[in-house]
């Protein structure tokens, strides 16, 4: 997540090549989110399964990706490119807060404040749990590939 000293000279958000990668990654992530929404359509105000699915799956994958990269070495070169393009680009765009927020408001209008709050809270709790599970899975995979090795954490 943090930038190492060597990478400070040109941060990723001012790197044209990385931003082009984010453009492509964001296009792919949005396409996957759109496909999930089309596969799991919901009436306005009903429980938005498509958004919940992409947010929880995306949180798991992002937790796993960032932990894997963190354990692989400093955030430079190819690791930084993967973090920015796949993490910020694909997984950042696969998940969404704007749809979550809009659907919560619409659900409050149609079904009431309780069901709306339930949707928002379930998404938040499952999202944090999924990110934690992704981090744990990456950590376990890292340890199993280096039996007897030092755990960085």
């Amino acid at each position: 997540m943090s930038t190492s000293g060597a990478a400070v000279a040109r941060p990723p958000h001012r790197h044209p090549g990385l931003l082009l990668g984010v453009l492509l990654g964001g296009t792919v992530g949005t396409g996957l989110r759109l496909a999930a929404g089309e596969a799991l359509p919901h009436e306005v105000g009903a429980w938005p399964w498509g958004t919940l699915l992409v947010n929880v799956v995306g949180a798991f994958l992002l937790g796993a990706l960032l932990e894997t990269l963190l354990r692989a070495g400093p955030d430079v070169g190819r690791r930084r490119a993967v973090r920015v393009v796949v993490g910020s680009g694909v997984l950042g765009s696969l998940t969404t807060t704007s749809a979550l927020a809009l659907e919560t408001v619409q659900r409050a209008d149609v079904a009431g404040v309780g069901p709306a709050a339930a949707y928002a809270l379930v998404t938040l709790v499952l999202g944090v749990a999924a990110a934690a599970a992704g981090v744990a899975a990456a950590a376990a995979s890292h340890r199993s590939r280096r039996p007897g090795g030092q755990d960085l954490a």
Partner: protein, 128 residues
Amino acid sequence: MSPATALAVCAAGGLGAVLRVVLDGELRTRLGGGLPWGTAAVNVVGSLLIGVATGMLGGPVAPGAAGAVLPVVATGLCGGFTTFGTAVVEVLRLGEDRRWGAAALAAAVTVLASTVAAALGLVLGRLP
């Protein structure tokens, strides 16, 4: 949804992702990485915008290209601009550092502040 509209939604999502990375990076550079202000800003701004767009363009789907504007702006641009995955990973990291107040604040911004922003946007978008 027509294939052309779907392509436009995806491309708008890519553009939204670039805008997110640039805005998040600039805020991170200026305010430091102690609290995830960049993610908070993109999520609140994107939620306000999806509310405004839905308030203005929601309702019966318009025929032809006009009907593509809302999905392109809402699902594409706002969806790609805002992010949930990064927000919850940041909440998790703050919790791991036992910064409970900061973690609670980041979580509240993601769900509460963004929802308030979307509600405000809907009201603004429906103004005559």
